[in-house]
Amino acid sequence: MKEDIVLTIHKDQDGDALKVTLEGRLDTMTAPELEKELKGSLDDVRELTFVLTDLEYISSAGLRVLLMAQKTMSSKGSMKVTGVNDLVREIFEVTGFTEILTIE
């Protein structure tokens, strides 16, 4: 059932480097959770990495949070996105996010 698939957020901090692994769906319902998680965690971070290997779905609400994170990090460090699968890559391409984000 689609209703059961939510978003799992896993954070892994190493000094001023933070790795955020997302699993599931980043959509209108789950994006606010991620936004909340990031708001309280980015103060001392210089290097932010998103691992999206198991991200199955992203909508504009998810992109918004990534864009906000990118704006925050641009001013004080760096942000990169790894493990982008085909499905998510297509969305990034269509929306110009491949130009905004550093995708590895």
């Binding site: 209703e3 959509d27 779905y57 504009s60 864009l67 297509e90």
Partner: protein, 531 residues
């Protein structure tokens, strides 16, 4: 004292006044009333004045004094002349005084409809009367008037009774129904109008099933069906009965309206308008419950004796078969015989338990024909129970309150169609993105700051396999596609947060179009889903 009779009935004093009450017999009348009323001091009094021909001021004073000891006095069945006296003297303001019911004869009147609890006759060119089977039907009449009123307020075209009358030994309610012709009569007399009837009949059915009813306003039909299921216990194996009850229990709660007795005698063409009548069975529930009673009306009750449908609807069994099949096909919006058959079988299970229960309770097992009919139905039911695992069927339309919380419901509804069509995962995700963006947009803006509903329709067509998804809302007219696309070449610093959703929907689908029609925003989007 022949002018007064009466007794104490439980918590109520019941009096019958008759003849003339004036200064000559007012004293005796009062004594007779007191003798009865003093047995139950202060209790409510119901006065039946059907036989009362005249009451003078002396008589009126008797009633006033009665009201001092027994506050609640209710006078019924008052003839027009006596009612005028009560009215002129202000009594109608002081207590409840009900006029006697007009007497109406239906002898020789044309029968134009028949429902579970009464029969409808035309009494003159403009008026019809529904005569109730139950002799003590005042409460039923009240109920039916009340539900008809609710339905009308919710947008269902129906007639509301304006008068209650006596017909023989029972009550009737009178409706204005100018030049009405039932769909049964049209089907019987003008067979060339079959397809027109199917369309109008299904349009009205969809309107009923698309009407959300505020909680608690109408009975829950599923509860009734559960009681039919319980009744079947002695007639099925333990395993069959468990399966039946599980399947009924699995029918989801549904706050949409169902008519409960939707056959062609209850749908009337009045001038150019199609009206629904006989509203006493109105309820809320899943559409399969409605389809079950429709199956019974056209096929079920006539399966054993094909003449039944002719007797009841006025057209023959072949017409009934054709009409039912076309209706089901139009309602489900498919010509796929397998799918039609599948839904019909589900409807039959509920239809059969209803008929079996009804017939057994009416001593059907005691006559050879009744017994043979019940046995036929029972064998069909057992066969169907063997091959059916669920009573649910998928409608291609979902009507939900447009809120973010309902997003997963909408996504789940759409993806079920995509999965069935073997849609590739990537395409499915693109479609999901478009559905989410459009639905969230409606949820956030269409009715803001109020809330309203959105309807989502899905259609999958062949050659090449293409999905069409339609969003319909009745919010402010707004074309989301008119908004300028965001500049996707800007850098992160310059990009606006937001404004991406509709753009993503446009990019995800092959075609997307908006129109405003009859007060509705209609957004239609298409995508080919073959690899």
């Amino acid at each position: 004292m022949k002018e007064v009779r009466g007794e104490v009935q439980g918590d109520r004093i019941s009096l019958i006044l008759s003849g003339r009450i004036d200064s000559n017999n007012a004293g005796d009348t009062e004594a007779a009333i007191r003798a009865i009323a003093d047995q139950a001091p202060g209790k409510p009094v119901l006065i039946d004045a059907e036989g009362l021909e005249y009451i003078s001021s002396a008589g009126l004073r008797v009633i006033l004094r009665l009201r001092k000891t027994n506050e609640d006095v209710h006078i019924i069945n008052v003839n027009p002349e006596v009612y005028e006296i009560f009215d002129m003297t202000g009594f109608t303001q002081m207590m409840t005084v009900d006029k006697a019911y007009r007497v109406v004869s239906v002898e020789g009147a044309e029968e134009i409809g028949r429902g579970a609890n009464g029969t409808i006759y035309r009494i003159d060119q403009d008026n019809v009367v529904k005569v109730y089977n139950n002799a003590d039907a005042l409460e039923e009449i009240q109920h039916e008037r009340e539900v008809a009123r609710k339905a009308l307020v919710l947008g269902i075209p129906t007639a509301i009774s304006y008068d209650v009358v006596r017909v023989n030994d029972s009550y009737g309610s009178v409706f204005e129904l100018l030049n009405a012709k039932s769909f049964s009569k049209i089907l019987a007399e003008e067979p060339e109008k079959m397809d027109w009837c199917v369309k109008e009949y299904v349009d009205l059915l969809k309107k009923i099933h698309g009407t959300l009813v505020p909680k608690g306003q109408l009975p829950v039909l599923k509860d009734t069906v559960l009681s039919w299921g319980e009744f079947m216990k002695p007639y099925l194996t333990e395993e069959e009965h468990e399966k039946l009850m599980r399947m009924i229990n699995e029918i989801p709660e549904d706050d949409h309206m169902v008519h409960g007795d939707y056959h062609t005698k209850n749908v009337e063409l009045v001038d150019d308008e199609v009206l629904l009548i006989d509203m006493d069975t109105l309820a809320v529930g899943h559409p399969i419950l409605e389809l079950a009673s429709m199956y019974n009306a056209f096929i079920g009750y006539s399966e054993y004796d094909h003449n039944n449908v002719k007797k009841f609807q006025g057209f023959d069994f072949e017409t009934a078969l054709e009409f039912w099949h076309k209706v089901l096909s139009a309602y489900l919006e498919t010509s796929d015989e397998k799918k039609i058959r599948e839904v019909e079988d589900k409807a039959r299970i509920i239809g059969l338990i209803r008929m079996i229960r009804r017939s057994i309770r009416r001593k059907g097992l005691e006559t050879p024909d009744g017994k043979a009919e019940i046995e036929l139905w029972l064998s069909e039911l057992k066969e169907l129970l063997g091959k059916t695992d669920s009573l649910l069927f998928r409608s291609n339309e979902l009507d939900v309150e447009a809120t973010g919380e309902n997003l997963s419901k909408v996504i789940g509804f759409v993806t079920a169609f995509l999965e069935e069509a073997d849609c590739p995962l990537k395409t499915q995700m693109q479609i999901e993105v478009a559905v989410e963006e459009i639905f969230v947009n409606i949820a956030n803006y269409a009715y803001a700051p109020e809330q309203g509903n959105a309807t989502v329709r899905v259609e999958v067509s062949d050659d090449p396999v293409t999905v069409t998804i339609q969003f319909i809302d009745q919010g402010f007219p707004y074309d989301p596609l008119a908004k300028q696309d965001p500049d996707v070449t800007m850098s992160a610093e310059d990009r606006q947060i937001g404004g991406l959703g509709i753009f993503m929907a446009k990019k995800s689908m092959d075609d997307i179009a908006y129109r405003y029609e009859n007060g509705k925003n209609i957004l239609t989007m298409k995508k080919k889903i073959t690899g």
